[in-house]
Amino acid sequence: MASVTLDHLNKWFGPSVHAVQDVNIHIEDGEFFGLLGPSGSGKTSVLRMLVGLERPTEGSILFDGVPVHNKTPQERNVAMVFEQNALYPHMTARQNISYPLRVRRASSETIARKVAEVATLLNIGALLDRRASQMSGGQQQRVAIARALVRDPNLLCLDEPIAHLDTLLRARLRGELKRLQRALGTTSVIVTHDPIEAMTMTDRLAVMRDGRLQQVGSADEIHNRPVNAFVAQFFGLHSMNVFTVDSCVDQGDHIAGRVGGQPARLPRTLERFLNIGRRTASIGARPSGVMVLRAADTAPAVEGFTATGQVYVTEQLGDAQLVTVQIADQSIQTLTPDPRAFEIDEPVRVFIPDDALFLFDDKTQQTRRFASRTAGDELAAIRSEVA
């Protein structure tokens, strides 16, 4: 087991593709770390450099402070679980799991003991004599994880290990992987494009985009303190609404502006962005922080963002519904426990309490103001008042 440091890591593919741009990360010994980003963000390239399947163009990788980026995967003693299809198809599960030990010329007693250990750990004792083609996708991935763990690696790398499984199985393996990592204490890095996987499994994670590191922190930090609009939109159960309010004018008790030509009202607290001479604001709010009101509903008594629009579509999620409201050319999603059925094209009002508003720089997209952590509680209070 080891701590891992990525120091000014760069990767070029050919002269024109700068896949990984100056990435600096320190991963503590025993930590479960996530690399999150959309496809093409460079997260897999980082992982492949960690494992030793790619060489960094510039920068260094250190395990416990010792540079390893010129060493082979074997010398680093890293293990990797691939997305899918990486079991040796002509071997049984037992032969697959024991292969790393066999090429290291371990004694047959050691092999038998270690295989039995990981098989118990991953609950695959009954599968040991099956070939890959005789196992389901979930079973294959368990065997792949067993093969990675059988030789006590310094670092366990997981490349979207459960992305190809069905929803229920994925949820179960998420929990299992997390417990397993905690129990073994192996430093682990998982690459995923799924924010839920990243949030639920890891201790800390890094969000990447276009080869650049956007933010490193705990799930809570990244969810509540996103550094920019991209992280805010990418990270979370539902994507954050980010929309533009322009032609903003200070009206004394509030700020009047327009959303795609439609009049909108902003709370006075956002005056700071007007103070630096801007007339345009980039506003963010998580769907759970947005209320959708009918014309007949009483307006909430607190300050907040208000605008009118039409229902674009509603999606029933069982205990809540996702209502997408179209305001001129922009759309805002609201996740609401409101049980009322909204009609498509029905005129509605959108209300976002001041506390739930994020403010981004309209040029750089950097976050200028975070929503309050207690925004959710406040929203619940407002809802009970309105009802």
Partner: protein, 325 residues
């Protein structure tokens, strides 16, 4: 709906069997297959049966004596001649020397080509040329190339001070020369089959092996070779069967000579049947070859089937990914 009912009623009125989903009656099936079956019966099944019959008779074409049944007589005479055993040896040289060498060289070229990333298709197509040429062209090209007087090979060898033999006419070198030409012509087929096998191994398998600490040699013997085995078996069987049928290059380059040194079983069969018109004996020789070929092929298949290796293509989890873990 109405149309369908009428159509169905019509066919039942005519007493036909009910139509299948694709609208073809069983009688229709027979009618469509008929010409092909008839062709096979006339040009393949009947001659084959006649061959078996002839091999038990004294049938000699062009000699007006009555044909009589000799039982296993033809076979007994054949196995007592040294010429039979010599031809068997020549056939064995193709089946047991040329074919294994083709497999070995084909494997090496396929491994090299698989490592090439740019222009693999171009190299592969170029290397396939010998296989695509007509056998007669191959024969004449080699005859010219090896000609002791005009041929470039001997000119070159003399140029560097050697005294080369007259390859195709030399009692020592004629058979090795034919084996070399056979290897030259058919190694590309082996190469293309094995290359397809190598391409079917997912890159992730190689990467997994690298991460698992497997050296290049270990990866080849433990992972690549077993996954390549089914392709290897296909190439082996195809080439093994063909090795019994080598005829054209012998006919053009040596005519079975000098003497009968380069006559294999196929050439001997031809010589018996069309040179001496001994159809009974020639038929018996064909039957012997068929038996040897069948036994040999079954041995190869049995050898591979015992390992029971699934191909890389069927090992993907996509088909059954939905089951529970």
């Amino acid at each position: 709906m109405a149309d369908l009912t009428i159509g169905y009623g019509k066919s039942s009125r005519w007493g036909r069997k009910p139509r299948r989903d694709d609208g073809v009656t069983e009688r229709g099936t027979l009618l469509l297959l008929g010409p092909a079956l008839l062709f096979l019966a006339v040009f393949a099944i009947w001659p084959f049966c006649y061959l078996i019959y002839a091999s038990f008779t004294s049938y000699q074409m062009a000699i007006p004596v009555p044909i009589h049944w000799v039982g296993l007589g033809n076979f007994q005479v054949l196995v007592k001649t040294t010429r039979f055993w010599h031809s068997l040896g020549v056939t064995a040289a193709f089946a047991l020397v040329s074919v294994p060498l083709q497999l070995l060289i084909g494997l090496c070229i396929a491994l090299l080509l698989n490592a090439v990333t740019r222009g693999r298709e171009v190299y592969a197509s170029l290397l396939l040329t010998p296989m695509m040429l007509a056998p007669i062209v191959v024969g004449f090209a080699w005859e010219l190339f090896l000609n002791p007087i005009y041929g470039p090979l001997n000119a070159l060898l003399k140029g560097i001070g050697l005294s080369p033999p007259a390859w195709a006419q030399s009692p020592v070198w004629a058979l090795p020369t034919l084996v070399a030409v056979d290897i030259w012509q058919w190694t590309p087929l082996v190469m293309v089959i094995l290359l397809a096998g190598l391409r079917s191994i997912p890159p992730r398998v190689y990467e997994a092996a690298k991460v698992d600490g497997s050296s290049a040699v270990q990866t080849f013997f433990n992972i690549v070779a077993p996954m390549l085995l089914p392709y290897f078996a296909v190439a082996f069987v195809l080439r093994f069967i063909d090795s019994f049928k080598v005829f054209d290059i012998i006919y053009i380059l040596t005519r079975g000579g000098p003497g009968t040194i380069t006559q294999n079983l196929a050439y001997y069969t031809y010589d018996l049947g069309f040179g001496r018109f001994q159809f009974g004996r020639s038929g018996a020789l064909s039957i012997i070859q068929l038996l040897l070929l069948t036994i040999g092929t079954m041995l190869i298949i049995k050898l591979v089937a015992k390992r029971n290796v699934p191909t890389a293509a069927v090992a993907g989890p996509a088909a059954n990914a939905k089951e529970g873990a």
